[in-house]
Symmetry: C2
Subunit: 526 residues, 2 copies
């Protein structure tokens, strides 16, 4: 590493400004200490799940603290880290706080964060072997393992094997790969930036398989409960908007899907199912959907961004039965996997399905280099330069083991159950349903949706709690997405007390429904 000093880059002067090489650790150590102190004091100053005062007040503080974003002369590393890390910590909605539980936004494991530092410091880029010799091989190993977890060799899809399955002899299109001549090659997986990219890739692979087959363009079919990224992916890829099948009970049913596919008139269809909806954590009935998909010869992508990590648990993975029959499955380890963002995975049952992503760039994977044995990595992502997100995942898998991850997933589901119990027994609130995963929906009894929405904002703006919202079953609900495995004694009751107070404040102010708060019929789950 170079020993020169850049003005402002070292404060106090240290062994050098870069994080890699033999001297990088010595350069990093004092700066990391500054960060740790700023994080701790920021969290202490915040003193809760998020800063009080709402968007304008937070924005004012950020602007006042930052001043000029780019000065002519720098303030030095120590000042910049103290100021901006402190600001972001003080002004965070911190998922490590029990009352920050709105979204699929997890508290990250310290060991995963620590591993991620190594990725930043060594800075491998995953687009060519000569930028990531060991990291690229590690990625291949981890991806293989994760793919086999989703698509275990045992219990594979009989209708795609040699003999026709119970759903009949029709073979799904596209399973032969784009060349049309090569056979299946076992499960594989890619690292993604999250479920959104996973869904994009699922649709893209479907689009390309349809193209290879010729004829009509791909028809994407999903439930009304599907993630918004499915429609956005279709738009991005230049496909027609997805055909949306109504899901009045919260899940895509086999009957409704069957009817819709029968209407398709032979156009190649890609069905997108969901294992863990964002609103309620609902899991579509995968075995029944698998049968319908197979009968119609459609392709099948499952958005398991939320529910996917149940595969770690022997006890819970039955809830995802049928997942192994999908063509592609997106799941995230930055949700029920406790990784810092990003740690997404797209797994495919047949690695040959990834061939449409093959791509050449002479400076990264020239033919003669590939022939000489240099691995070709460009087809592993739509990105070129790419962070080694796999390192933190590999460290987490190794440190916790399957049983450790299973325990965390199981405890989080159990915590959601306990929260649901407390709500169900509290006369002030209605519970939407038993939590299928870790999402608990509830609402104050006898009040309109506008009060629910206003109470959520009341909690946010007051800095008291970060809760989510979900419009399901024709009503608006408060949403707790639990991603912390422990709900400690008294926490559910404390949460409900806060909600009750917020509701009372809203009602007292006459906010919601244009100031007129009227009692309304109860909105239990239909």
């Amino acid at each position: 590493m170079s020993a020169f000093t850049v003005e402002g880059a070292q404060d106090p002067p240290g062994p050098g400004p870069f994080a890699g090489g033999a001297l990088g650790s010595a350069a990093l150590r004092p700066l990391l200490e500054v960060v740790l102190e700023a994080l701790a004091s920021g969290a202490e100053q915040r003193g809760g799940p998020l800063p009080a005062g709402g968007p304008e007040r937070v924005a004012d503080e950020v602007r006042a603290t930052v001043g000029a974003v780019l000065r002519e002369r720098g303030t030095g590393a120590r000042e910049a880290l103290e100021t901006l890390v402190g600001l972001v910590a003080r002004g965070a909605a911190d998922p490590s706080e029990p009352l920050c539980a709105a979204h699929l936004h997890c508290p990250p494991l310290a060991l995963a964060v620590a591993a991620d530092v190594a990725g930043s410091a060594v800075n491998p880029s995953m687009d060519s072997w000569d930028q990531a010799p060991a990291a690229s091989e590690l990625e291949a190993l981890v991806c293989g393992e994760l793919a086999r977890l989703v698509f275990p060799a045992e219990g594979g899809p009989p209708e795609r094997g040699g003999a026709p399955g119970p759903e009949g002899p029709k073979r799904p299109w596209g399973s032969e790969g784009p060349s049309g001549s090569e056979g299946p090659s076992g499960p594989d997986a890619l690292v993604t930036s999250g479920g959104t990219e996973g869904n994009q890739l699922g649709l893209l692979l479907g689009r390309e398989a349809a193209r290879a087959r010729g004829g009509a363009p791909l028809r994407v079919v999903c439930g009304a409960n599907a993630h918004h990224s499915v429609g956005r992916a279709a738009w991005l890829l230049g496909l027609a908007p997805p055909v949306v099948v109504p899901t009045p009970a919260g899940v895509l049913t086999a009957g409704a899907l069957d009817e819709e596919l029968a209407r398709g008139g032979g156009a190649p269809a890609l069905v997108v199912a969901t294992a863990g909806t964002t609103d309620a954590g609902d899991v579509d009935p995968l075995p029944e959907l698998a049968a319908v998909v197979a009968r119609h010869g459609a392709r099948w992508h499952v958005d398991a961004a939320y529910g996917g990590p149940l595969v770690f648990s022997e006890r819970l993975r039955g809830r995802l039965a049928g997942l192994e029959r999908a063509d592609s499955v997106a799941f995230d380890l930055h949700k029920l996997g406790w990784q810092p963002v990003a740690a997404g995975v797209l797994a495919v049952r047949d690695g040959a399905a990834l061939r449409p992503l093959a791509h050449r760039a002479a400076y990264l994977n020239a033919d003669d280099d590939t022939e000489a044995g240099l691995p070709d990595l460009l087809g592993r992502s739509l990105r070129t330069t790419r962070r080694p997100d796999v390192l933190k995942v590999a460290v987490t898998l190794r440190a916790l083991g399957r049983s450790g991850l299973a325990a965390m997933v199981e405890r989080t589901c159990a915590a959601a159950e306990r929260l649901a119990d407390v709500i169900a027994e509290d006369g002030r609130f209605s519970l939407y349903a038993r939590p299928p995963l870790t999402t608990v929906l509830f609402r104050p009894r006898g009040l309109p949706d506008a009060v629910v929405a206003a109470a959520r904002r009341e909690l946010l703006v007051g800095g008291a709690a970060v809760l989510g919202r979900a419009a399901v079953g024709g009503r608006l609900w408060l949403k707790v997405t639990l991603l912390d495995p422990t709900v400690r004694e008294g926490e559910p009751e404390a949460l409900l007390k806060l909600v009750d107070e917020a509701v009372a404040a809203v009602v007292e102010r006459g906010a919601g429904a244009d100031g007129a708060v009227a009692a309304s019929a109860e909105g239990e789950r239909p």
Copy 2:
């Protein structure tokens, strides 16, 4: 933060397993020390720019070290971090080493890596305000500043202002935004995962503007020198492959572009120019291209992933004159900005151009929440969950200031000049050209391309140096992409000695060109 203990998550037992909250720093500190030690000893064991032995040997070591990726019982945080961080550091192509200089793969600043830890620990997700209150405001500030740096208020494009410019009165299509009714709103920028995503967005915005206009679909026109991601983006977006204009001199010329646009027959065109080609660092003649683009009423995207950060330097930003006339500009701070991956930016001259990215999801930006003042962030990216890459960028801008970043950019360009000087004076090698940015291409005199390619692999496999390759001007060249601001005394000579030895080894073995190494005519730049 919860105080429970997950089996294997804490080793030795500490205050808790999560990185956030008030106790997160205490959980992180000992784990970070394990990482720093593993990084240092890994770099020492490697003892050079990359591990020796080539892909198979590295893969063998990775497989042997890792063993089972997912065991039933975990090994604990300390063991996992020591083992896997050590493995990745030992097996890295580390850009903090002077002889690792193949790609646009920079040594990251320690202060940026330290800042990135805070992003991981607090784990804001940039898709809604209630997951990132302060971080989202910080992102808005930094994006605004970066956009104004690319598109300064002074020196804006006269032909897009009130009065017609010198190129005539034709107004470019699409500049009125998709609604067709709203005026320009000043420069803006988005954070991306890199130039590849920046180019995707540039093409996507062009596609949507063409759609809003109705009529023929978008025609993408780029030089043969453009990055491979331009063609891949067109494919992703369902557009026709780009029309590729030959660039025999390495850059897209105004004359060739003019001819091609004249052939377009009125279809809406998006021109993609390059400010810093991956092969040679060439910068297209932006002022001349701007005039041609304006004359034809085309849209203009500039891929400045590499060259963009020259805007920090008063002395060098003249090389990018004309950039401020582009509709959109992609640039990366994980190249000449010394950030760990990822730190990309897409800047647009008129923020209204970003409107096609607007997107709604009831759980993230419900209308009533937006009306109540909660910021709407979904339109800031095609991703949903998104890491706060802006934090490390903000810390770097503040710590170094404009002058500090300018000094690093200028020193890196000067280092490339010095390397080029040494090569030019060395009779054994031909220099392709004076380096336009920080890329230096050279080749051993009198030997065929196959020897050049084999010598590069010889250096790689021997663990001696990581050099790149570039096929330009009809020949294959060795490529040094300097991203370290300092070339110390003797380093260029040492590099040339290594290359000379590798060439000799290849020639002696008779490798390259099917074993027959013949002298060939010199391949100076045409």
